[in-house]
Symmetry: C2
Subunit: 64 residues, 2 copies
DNA sequence: CGAGGATGTCAAGCGACATTGTCATTGTGA
DNA sequence: TCACAATGACAATGTCGCTTGACATCCTCG
């Protein structure tokens, strides 16, 4: 499951550590999600969506 | 994290077993999600949303 | 009454999510 | 050149999502 986290983060000039802090998860979790190691839990997906002000569907993509 | 699964399912007159089969998960998983024991994974949340033709945000609710 | 469908729940097990801690690599700036 | 931020990665650990299998309860229908 791909996502646009890296792009959305870059648009705001945030580091992975910055994003992790805003989401209240570890930097490693942000990195793992960005690099596709695993998908976030649904609650975390909601926090991400809320943070960027976008629906989940526009951040995470179905497929593969 | 609350959800409207039970209602959406009732509207279509599906049993938990029916829904489980359509989602390709176990009946116990459907039951656990409906009764709030845990939240579905993001991929499963997408499958649920697709099945009901609704955005994830309209099936699952932030809060508690 | 008795059979069967629907629901709720428990246990045991496995893999996925998330953690802390650590290390290597790359790039930028003083 | 040297320090440091940023990123990627690995190990060990703990919890959560999901499974199969089993059992109890409730309801309805013949």
């Amino acid at each position: 499951m791909k996502n646009r986290l890296k792009v959305l983060r870059a648009m705001r000039d945030w580091s992975q550590a910055d994003l992790a802090e805003k989401l209240e998860v570890s930097r490693q979790s942000v990195n793992a999600i960005e690099t596709g190691k695993y998908d976030p839990s649904l609650p975390l997906a909601f926090r991400i969506a809320d943070l960027f002000g976008l629906p989940i569907e526009e951040i995470f993509e179905r497929g593969e």
